[in-house]
């Protein structure tokens, strides 16, 4: 008789859920144990800032309900952190002392918000935003706060500012680079976004680093390297995230920035897999490995991991930086490279600052390596597909450029006039 297989999944978000779905596509006899540090059903981190802005209610954050776990025959072990892992014994040790045996393990523990040590003071009004708890604390305080300082100018920071700008607080950004969204978009596109943010009465200090946060009475006092001091009732830190690789540490699992996996999402240990924000995968575009954050990457990686866990051979094409969002009414999409980064890319560009439309394609040897779209983002999926399939567009190059722009014309800029 075949041995009864135990799949253990650690984490309860995009990668974990899609792994469970793909395991159950073919395998109904094995057991699935789902371990999560948070004591609730899966919610969508994508939606957190929508809750902050009041667009959705708390219950709408949850993407699956009890039925999902029951229908997929998943045993939930929630509110319980996996502390240690012993690959030899095939055992996971939980916070409450329990030991869970596995045949296949998927580490999908995600990433945590960076909290620089120098800013780590025991103030109740300094936050990072990554999970429901953070968000609820921010929500509670934001109604009272008069001055809010946001450190970092990434996507989540801007989304928070957008959500909080509807309240009465004054918002100030302190950003270490020369532009907003430096990880996602190029300088020119960022200048359009910057103008839009400033038009909402939000100030931005570029090339500024916060050295220290002091507590003066009830306020936080931020001291920057340029000598500018700022007072705030609330400070939100958006300085990127780091993969939660702790479980793999002190084991033989290979870890770099994230847990290293091959294109089957398998680590160097045969029956241990990793997917999502915790996994370091090969890049789709260049010969490098990296952690590729985001919901779509996590969904795809989780699916590949799940299929391989039940013995189906499925390969991951490789990670791609990809983001899509609306910030202060501006639709932004970026896939792959947003700037040349020392590579000799051919650049095809269309920009109309007045209408707030910006479109850029980066080509290498007639293959699209990246795109930045602002305003008209309808083609984002199509371009992403062309990038992923590494299609040679040389036969069609002139057309694809004009066609993309024509397509934009046909669709009429939907927004931002």
């Amino acid at each position: 008789m075949a041995k009864h297989i135990r799949h253990v999944v650690i984490g309860n978000s995009a990668a974990a859920l899609s792994a469970i779905k793909s395991i159950r596509e073919t395998d109904h006899s094995s057991s699935i144990f789902l371990i999560s540090a948070e004591n609730c059903n899966a919610y969508s981190p994508v939606l957190i800032t929508y809750y902050l802005s009041g667009k959705i209610s708390r219950k709408d954050l949850f993407i699956v309900d009890d039925h999902f776990y029951n229908d997929n025959e998943v045993e939930r072990i929630f509110g319980n952190k996996a502390l240690e892992l012993d690959p030899k014994k095939q055992m996971v040790y939980l916070e409450d002392g329990r030991k869970i045996l596995y045949d296949n393990l998927l580490i999908a523990t995600g990433a945590s918000a960076n909290y620089p040590n120098e800013l780590r003071k025991n103030f109740q009004n300094v936050f990072t935003l990554r999970n429901i708890k953070d968000m609820e604390r921010i929500l509670k305080l934001s109604n009272k706060a008069g001055e809010i300082v946001i450190i970092g100018g990434g996507l989540v920071s801007l989304q928070i500012a957008d959500a909080l700008s509807k309240k009465k607080a004054r918002i100030t950004f302190i950003i270490s680079s020369k532009q907003v969204l430096s990880r996602n978009i190029d300088v020119e596109c960022a200048s359009i976004v910057k103008k839009k943010i400033e038009s909402r009465g939000i100030s931005i200090y570029f090339e500024n680093e916060v050295k220290e946060i002091k507590k003066i009475k009830d306020k936080a006092c931020l001291i920057t390297n340029s000598g500018k001091d700022l007072k705030a009732d609330m400070v939100i830190i958006g300085k990127g995230v780091t993969s939660n690789t702790q479980l793999g540490q002190n084991t033989s699992i290979k870890i770099n920035k994230g847990i290293l996996v091959n294109d089957s999402m398998r680590t160097n240990i045969e029956n241990i897999f990793a997917a999502g924000d915790v996994a370091e995968v090969n890049s789709l575009l260049i010969d490098e490995s990296d952690v590729f954050l985001g919901w779509l990457n996590a969904c795809e990686q989780g699916r590949v991991a799940g299929l391989n866990m039940v013995g189906c051979k499925e390969s991951y094409r490789g990670g791609l930086n990809e983001n899509i969002s609306t910030i202060f009414g501006l639709n932004i999409a970026a896939v792959g490279f947003s700037r040349s980064n020392g590579n000799k890319f051919e650049v095809l560009k269309f920009s109309d600052h007045k209408r707030k439309v910006y479109r850029k394609l980066l080509l290498d040897n007639n293959k699209i390596m990246g795109t930045v779209l602002l305003g008209r983002i309808e083609d984002a999926g199509l371009i992403r597909n062309l990038i992923r399939r590494k299609m040679d567009i040389s036969f069609y190059k002139d057309k694809i450029i004009s066609n993309l722009f024509n397509l934009g014309k046909i669709l009429i800029p939907l927004t931002n006039r």
């Binding site: 779905k21 639709n331 984002a380 999926g381 062309l386 399939r389 036969f395 669709l411």
Partner: protein, 168 residues
């Protein structure tokens, strides 16, 4: 058997009545920007192609929607965005390999063709019969084949074969 939207490129004149009819039905105004069907025209080549969601049988958008707001009806095959659940995060815009999902900035929601739940308005108003709503029979499969060949010709060098397999 489920019905599908078929497009006869030879018959399309690029009048864009389909866009007008669609936007009136769904958005309550004559505004092609809010239509779920889009006519990609190339007048210099005399080529017009109305495109709408292909209603994939294993839709990536359904798999990835962070809010479970996109569903596929097993019987009709219709892939639909549940307006009430959509928060406008646009992940599906990025996920759709065909660019078939657009964003309605007025409602702040993703929109796509849902075949008007089985009675497509665009078909009713298509004057030349380029758009039809038919049983997905073998004959239709031949038509799709013809369309994919035509597309291949147009998109020389770019092979959508793998994608078209998805919907065939």
């Amino acid at each position: 058997m489920s019905k599908i939207l078929t497009i006869n490129v030879e018959k399309c004149t690029g009048c864009r009545t389909c866009e007008i009819a669609c936007s009136l039905k769904h958005a309550g105004e004559f505004n092609p920007a809010r239509s779920r069907i889009h006519n990609i025209s190339s007048p210099e080549e005399g080529f017009y192609l109305p495109v709408a969601c292909l209603q994939c049988s294993e839709p990536f958008c359904v798999q990835i929607c962070p809010n479970g707001a996109i569903t596929r009806d097993e019987i009709t095959g219709i892939v639909k965005i549940l307006e009430k659940r959509c928060v406008g995060c646009k992940m599906c815009l990025l996920a759709c390999p065909f660019g078939s999902i657009t964003f309605d900035s007025k409602e702040e929601k993703a929109i796509k063709c849902d075949l008007c739940d089985g009675e497509p308005e665009c078909v009713a108003f298509c004057a030349t019969g380029a758009l039809e709503f038919k049983e997905a029979e073998i004959a239709v499969k031949f038509k799709k084949r013809a369309l994919s060949d035509r597309l291949k010709e147009i998109y020389k060098g770019i092979s959508f074969k793998e994608d078209l397999e998805l919907v065939r």
